[in-house]
């Protein structure tokens, strides 16, 4: 368990963290209208009369949004409520033409679930379970721009009415690292399920961070809520800052006020958003425009059947194939990489060799060339071919690296590269012996020293032989023949 503590003047303090994550549901159209959801469109071009709250318009829920929220719930083993209902959350702001957000307070679509996290990535088997209290669906608001005009704010309603899932955790996290691990795991699950693209830069995932502090073993302290933090790193920084601030306030004899705060990206600090205090009176009530949402068993069965293998199950399966826990964790962290690796295994690659090669050679090369797996110039079947050439002795490790470099540049098949450039490894003892004889003949000093007991010179002879053979000799055969020749 976490031993993260804030050292105060009066002793050690424990931090208690809960996260409310807003995840944009992947769908073509909005939650209650047919307007498009795509990011980056011209302002107000993806706004229907419903989204602009014109009088007389009625919301009709998008089935796909409901389906994606249900699938997400199933992926975290949550209760799915076959009867749920929409409520109006009333507040007045320029980004919300309806004057209320349609949300689900009293009867959310998804109930209690859980997410298993590994806060220490060097030890992925040390896990902790974080409770998820609920997931409900709701509308996003529009966007305001304040820097376009000296006295006016500009309103773009393209986001207005886009479907969000609000995923509310239990206050089960005890350190910034645990909160970071929770967010990364949640993001991975959403991306495996395909219910949210997890793109934090484009605002597809934002977190409201609830933080309180207490002396170890005490009752829960008063919490503050830092709104709309949009990266894992910022969430961790906000917790760190906010926990320290709260300890200082309490130790100076003050008390924590339950309030909404804002995170400042530049300074890494949080500040109070007092002007919105009144807005907390949301006067929720059931939305009279919408009947309760009742789901059939067949719909749920269809949702369940469409779930892919999830990160935890995949990681365990990889470990069962002999892949190390660390590599299994790295391979399953991003859904695209995991699917690529699955394709590599399907193409016949041996799991352990494939995992070693993928996590070191492939990921290393992609990193170096600023690419990701989606734009990898090497396909899983080409990689399987390369690994097969290593497995059957055609290529040595170092030749495989050379071939891989060419594959990266040209996208050619490995067998063709081996053929064209004559990179085949040779185990031809006659040829190797001839080179060894030549090397020994031109190295009388080294030979005398070696025979005199300086055994480290063996490496010199291996190097010379390999060099003379253009790196194409089978290293195992070279070693064996050299030992005999030098004895």
């Amino acid at each position: 368990m976490s031993d993260y503590r804030i050292q105060g003047a009066t002793g050690e303090w424990e931090v208690v963290i809960g996260l409310e994550v807003h995840a944009q549901v992947t769908s073509n159209a909005k939650l209650f209208s047919g307007a498009a959801t795509a990011f980056g469109a011209e302002p107000n071009t993806q706004v229907s009369l419903v989204d602009a709250a014109m009088p007389g318009m009625l919301p009709v829920p998008n089935m796909e949004c409901i389906r994606q929220a249900v699938r997400t719930g199933m992926a975290i083993d949550a209760t799915i409520n076959r009867w749920s209902r929409f409520d109006r959350k009333n507040y007045f702001y320029a980004d919300l033409p309806q004057g209320y957000q349609i949300s689900q307070l009293y009867h959310p679509l998804v109930g209690e679930g859980a997410i298993e996290i590994s806060p220490d990535d060097r030890n992925p088997d040390a896990t902790k379970t974080i409770g998820v209290e609920r997931i409900h669906v709701e509308q996003d608001a529009g966007k305001l721009m304040h820097d376009q005009h000296p006295t006016r704010s500009y309103v773009d309603l393209n986001r207005s009415g886009v479907a969000l899932m609000e995923i509310v955790s239990r206050p089960d996290m005890r350190s910034p690292a645990e909160a970071g691990a929770y967010l990364r795991k949640l993001r991975a699950i959403l991306r495996y399920v395909g219910s949210c693209d997890g793109n934090m830069e484009e605002g597809s995932m934002r977190a409201d961070v609830n933080v309180s502090v207490r002396k170890v073993g005490d009752e829960l302290g008063t919490r503050t809520e830092t709104k709309n933090v949009n990266s894992v790193r910022f969430v961790m920084a906000a917790i760190e800052y906010e926990a320290k601030r709260q300890v200082e306030v309490i130790e100076d004899g003050g008390r924590i006020v339950q309030e909404t705060r804002l995170f400042n990206v530049e300074s890494g600090t949080t500040r109070s958003m007092r002007s919105k205090e009144d807005a907390h009176d949301y006067r929720y009530f059931p939305d009279p425009d919408l009947l309760p949402l009742e789901l059939e068993e067949a719909f749920l069965a269809d949702c369940r059947a469409s779930l892919p293998e999830l990160p935890d199950a995949k990681r365990k399966r990889y470990e069962g194939l002999g892949i190390s826990a660390y590599q299994a964790d790295v391979l399953t962290a991003e859904v695209e990489a995991a699917r690529w690796f699955d394709a590599l295994l399907e193409a016949g690659a041996k799991p352990v060799a494939a995992a070693n090669w993928t996590t070191s050679e492939l990921f290393g090369a992609l990193n170096r060339t600023g690419r990701d797996i989606a734009t990898s110039p090497v396909s899983p079947s080409q990689a399987a071919e390369l690994l097969a050439l290593v497995a059957d002795g055609t290529l040595s490790g170092s030749l495989a690296k050379q071939v891989f470099e060419v594959m990266l540049e040209t996208g050619d098949a490995p067998a063709r590269i081996v053929e064209d450039r004559g990179l085949k490894q040779t185990s031809d003892t006659g040829a190797i012996l001839a080179v060894i004889a030549e090397v020994i003949a031109r190295s009388p000093n080294q030979l005398a020293q070696y025979r005199g007991g300086k055994e480290t010179l063996f490496g010199y002879f291996v190097g010379q032989t390999m060099k003379a053979m253009g790196g194409k000799a089978n290293p195992a055969v070279v070693n064996e023949l050299l030992k005999k020749a030098l004895a």
């Binding site: 047919g34 107000n44 706004v47």
Partner: protein
Amino acid sequence: MSVDTATVKKVAALARIAITDEDAARLAPELSNILGWIEQLEGVNTAGVEPMTAVIPNQLRLRDDVIDADPLTGGGIRDALMANAPQAEHGFFTVPKVIE
């Protein structure tokens, strides 16, 4: 339950409805009357009765995830949308500056 003028003013402020003191003084007893009537309804024993959501048996209809399937509830109508806006500029609605 009776509503005082301070509550009336608070609710009006939350809804951004400007009312005068006279309005508030007139509305307070009106709202109190309405709430009194609701209190009377609460006297009915509804134990074991499911809340009624519609007067005819009806199911919530869901729409398919198709963009602009119905022109009346689709996007791409910016000009029509802005036609009655008091002040629109460069494709945006504009409002008096609201900033934290």
